[in-house]
């Protein structure tokens, strides 16, 4: 295999960006109201040159409904996939994904608590100055869970065993917190039961608000800080003592990666709810395509996660059209069998 270079990473990134653009076009066209390719291009052109008719219903569907949802899905997928790849290297386990580890459920727990404290579920986060409140509460929930999971699983003698215990602790904690979430939500007499139900499975249909922009900022900032740690992550994936021998400040890098991965997971879950297995599926396919070197895997998976999630959401929107499924249903249908397959093969990174 060739030596990794900046050029190769740039080439892969550009190729994936083109694929993403293609997926966006597909997702824009598909839906309960199908838009023909010619019409779509025309609408996009008019929007681009600023000559769009103000009251065209197709334009409204395209730019007010579909495009924000597509961008949101891309963001959520990118974040969850990158967090999954980071957790997998850190824990030396290809099954470690934010959902399986309970981090996503912890983030939704934080979000729900925040929403209860800020009184109105629907208006939470929309209050301008509090835009960062909801993602930060979700981050706190996520960080709390990863801390608890780490504590619960401590004491495993062999590293492989410790890693398995970590996953079990995550799964147990996730089911526990899911129940708490349901109790909290039921006790607050919500009107929008369907919305809550969908959000708990992972859904992208909620409208974009001020906190969505805050989440975007948090995800990109988190990824920018995570990326320089990718070579250290490669070495940690070999074993912690080997990483130290080769010059990695292991303790510091581990804390930083835990926090950053929890941060970007928490941020997107505060908007989309805990969408399952994206952090498992995308890094797995990413490793098959690009190898396990995190210097190329992290950026590739960031974009691949965006593509995958927006396609999954398009499927969720169109499969039972005009009814819509939450995207978490699609990802769980794909992810659960992959989890079984990977855990039987027990492949190493």
């Amino acid at each position: 295999m060739n030596r990794l270079s900046g050029r190769r990473i740039a080439a892969v990134s550009i190729a994936l960006l083109v694929c993403w653009a293609g997926a966006v076009m597909l997702a824009l066209a598909a839906g309960s109201v199908a838009i023909a390719p010619g019409t779509l291009l025309g609408l996009l052109w008019h929007k681009f040159v600023g000559s769009a008719a103000a009251d065209d219903p197709l334009a409204t569907i395209l730019f007010a409904i579909r495009l924000p949802r597509i961008l949101l899905g891309s963001l959520v997928g990118a974040a969850l996939a990158a967090a999954g790849a980071a957790f997998q290297s850190l824990l030396r386990n290809p099954l470690a994904d934010p959902f399986v580890l309970g981090v996503s459920t912890g983030a939704s727990f934080g979000t729900i608590l925040y929403s209860m404290f800020t009184a109105s579920w629907a208006a939470a986060g929309a209050a301008g100055g509090l835009a960062y409140g909801r993602p930060m509460a979700a981050f706190a929930g996520a960080a709390m869970v990863i801390g608890a999971v780490y504590f619960l699983s401590a004491g495993g003698s062999r590293s492989g065993e410790a890693s398995q215990r970590l996953l079990l602790a995550g799964i147990v904690l996730a089911s526990f917190l899911s129940s708490i979430n349901v109790i909290l939500l039921t006790s607050t007499s919500q009107a929008d039961l369907r919305g809550i139900f969908y959000w708990l499975i992972g859904d992208l249909s909620r409208p974009v608000d001020a906190s969505t922009y805050a989440v975007t900022g948090v995800v990109f900032a988190g990824f920018i800080f995570l990326y320089p740690l990718s070579r250290s992550l490669n070495l940690i994936a070999l074993g912690e003592e080997d990483a130290m021998i080769l010059g990695v400040a292991v303790a510091r890098v581990k804390v930083a990666v835990y926090l950053l991965a929890s941060l970007i997971t928490g941020a997107v879950v505060s908007v989309s709810g805990p969408i399952a297995y994206i952090g498992l599926i995308c890094p797995h396919l990413g490793r098959m395509m690009f190898g396990s070197d995190n210097r190329i895997l992290l950026p590739a998976v960031f974009m691949f996660g965006a593509i995958f999630t927006l396609l999954a959401d398009t499927l969720a929107r169109t499969l039972l059209s005009p009814a819509e499924l939450p995207v978490g249903v699609i990802t769980a249908l794909l992810g659960a069998p992959l989890f079984v397959y990977l855990s039987r093969r027990r492949s190493s990174l």
Binding site: M1, P228, D242, G247, A249, S292, L349
Partner: protein, 268 residues
């Protein structure tokens, strides 16, 4: 052998405990071009001393000094890894990497934050693989290697770090005797040619005694005796350390031959 120059790496009265004290008041110096060896029974604290010298563990008391002056604890890990290379007793997983990729990991401490391995790094790695006779396996996966080849690969990774100091923990354990001798010869040659300060830790006394220039005998966490191999390896000292009779013979050329006097009686 005792030069006036500062040692590359020195432990000064170093102690370390987990729950019980494991290492007590160890003082040891590693000098360029010299192979030092620590011999001792299993559980005597040899590996802990090696990890303390490599900066993997922090001494509870005492200090480990680089070039005689700088405490390791004051240096960032990356800096340490440019001076000190270690072959641990059980290496981490890397079984899906190729031999070339695995050895190239040794270049890590020399790369910049966003840097990629350059042609120069590849050259240094290939040089290390050549020395350890692994060039014909460049694109083989690590999991396909035999035990001896895997040990040579770990040595190649350490050499790719271009260290001044080489710490080897049971490098030849579980190898056939011919590979053991071959690997130790290579380490001796590299130490002299490149002026490395090498430490070999082993419980295989018969191998180390004939190979190391400077030997420390370790027992229950402390160094009982150290000095030039010929002075340290005596029948009396070995009997004290292992509780077993040995035949010790000096051979022409300065090496030492050791035979444990084993008598195994059959049940009658």
């Amino acid at each position: 052998m005792r030069t006036k120059s500062l040692p590359e790496l020195a432990a000064r009265d170093v102690s370390f405990s987990y729950r019980n004290p494991v290492v007590r008041g160890v003082t040891l110096e590693l000098r360029p071009g010299v192979v030092a060896g620590i011999i001792g029974p299993n559980g005597s604290g040899k590996t802990t001393v090696l990890r303390l010298l490599g900066g993997i563990l922090r001494p509870a008391t005492g200090s480990v000094l680089l070039k005689g002056t700088t405490p390791l604890t004051a240096l960032p890990r990356r800096e340490i890894a440019r001076y000190i290379a270690m072959v641990p007793q059980s290496a981490g997983d890397g079984s899906l990497l190729t031999v070339r990729q695995f050895a190239m990991l040794g270049r890590s401490p020399h790369l910049s934050l966003f840097g990629f391995e350059s042609a120069r790094d590849e050259e240094i790695t290939l040089d290390a693989l050549e020395m350890t006779q692994l060039v014909s396996y460049l694109d083989a996966r690590v999991c396909e290697l035999s035990g001896g080849e895997k040990q040579r690969l770990l040595l190649a990774r350490a050499l790719a770090q271009q260290p001044k100091i080489l710490l080897l923990d049971e490098l030849t354990a579980n190898l056939d005797i011919n590979y053991q001798v071959e690997l130790l010869r290579l380490v001796g040659r590299l130490t002299r040619e490149r002026g490395l300060a090498t430490l070999v830790v082993s419980h295989e006394i018969h191998l180390l005694a004939g190979f190391a220039d400077h030997i420390a005998l370790m027992h229950e966490g402390s160094i009982r005796l150290q000095g030039p191999a010929a002075e340290v390896i005596t029948r009396e000292n070995l009997k004290q350390l292992f509780g077993l009779d040995f035949q010790v013979r000096s051979l022409p050329g300065g090496s030492i031959e050791i035979l444990p006097a084993i008598e195994i009686r059959r049940h009658t």
